[in-house]
């Protein structure tokens, strides 16, 4: 019986550290998408005629920001 298992049993927390890693990876993009969509909505509210351009660019920004969180997800599967 190896020692790390016993320690894990004593601490009563077991599982994969990857899930913690993904949680960390999701913080930044979460904040980023929040700011991004909020600002885009603000722009649309101020200038409704620019809705089309703003929406396209909002989705572009979301795609770039979201990639970070998704890479975090993939990395969790890759580096097991």
């Amino acid at each position: 019986m190896d020692a790390s298992l016993i320690l894990a049993a004593e601490d009563a927390i077991s599982g994969n550290i990857n899930s913690v890693g993904y949680g960390l990876a999701a913080i930044g993009p979460g904040i980023g998408i929040g700011i991004l969509v909020g600002k885009a909505l603000e722009g649309i509210a101020r200038q409704p005629e620019a809705t089309g351009v703003l929406r396209t660019n909002m989705f572009l920004g979301i795609a770039f920001v979201e990639a970070l969180a998704l890479i975090g997800l993939v990395a969790g599967f890759l580096f097991t």
């Binding site: 019986m1 016993i6 049993a9 004593e10 396209t56 795609a63």
Partner: protein, 282 residues
Amino acid sequence: MTLASTVGPDDVVEGPVLASVSSPPDGYVPPSIEEFFYDPLFGSGIFAVNRIVLMMLLMTGALCLLFGMGFRRPQVVPRGLQNVLETGTEFVRTQIGDEVIGKEASRRFAPYLTALFFFVLAMNITSIIPGLNLPVNGLAALPLLLAVITWVIYNVQGAKSQGLGHYLRNSLFPPGIPKPIYLLVTPIEFISTFLLRPITLFIRLLANMIAGHLILGLFYSASTYLFLGYQDGRWWTALFGLGSFAGAIVFTFFEALVAALQAYIFTLLTAVYLAGSLEPEH
């Protein structure tokens, strides 16, 4: 720490605590990445046909059939299926092509963008079609292929419309920067333009589909498990099963949204990269 110091490495430790670590206390098995891998049904090697390949062929056939039926005899005043499909193609051409590339140049790329959008959508939507229940884009093959095709197209287009030398100079040495900074900028630009663009296109689509499928699998398998809890005399787990089942239904609709959104984003980014290679950034 106390436990580790009193128990030697060779001692056999018994008790409920360790048993709960080595094997889960109950029989619930959450879905894992193994969900995506199927044994081949027939064929072998690189021509092996498994469930994924069959789904791919089925959806490609369905897409061809749909568009063949819709546009076989196009009317000036569209009706029925043609109307629906024209709304879709119009959306891709105006909302993605014209908006990003510009009116004249987008005519040339409209066929590729339209085909890309509907193909990605068809391969994503299998995620929520009953009986198929697995996104084809949840496996690396198809997103990787599409990302490579996009990569080749925007690079070839850039070399064609700007000339290879100009294209490389504009993308690697953006103008208006002091000379020594190029030591820093050029490697970054190289990595981001020629490596990270296709890789992020690929991973964005793949990981969205994997995550969506795992969420759905988690909700559905959890509701099955919780509903079957009465067999062990735990009837009250069925209440949680109801909640899990409601979550599964909500997330099925969410998956439909994600499938369409990812098809849109993939096409939009392709258009953005194409627009960038058609004329240098200012």
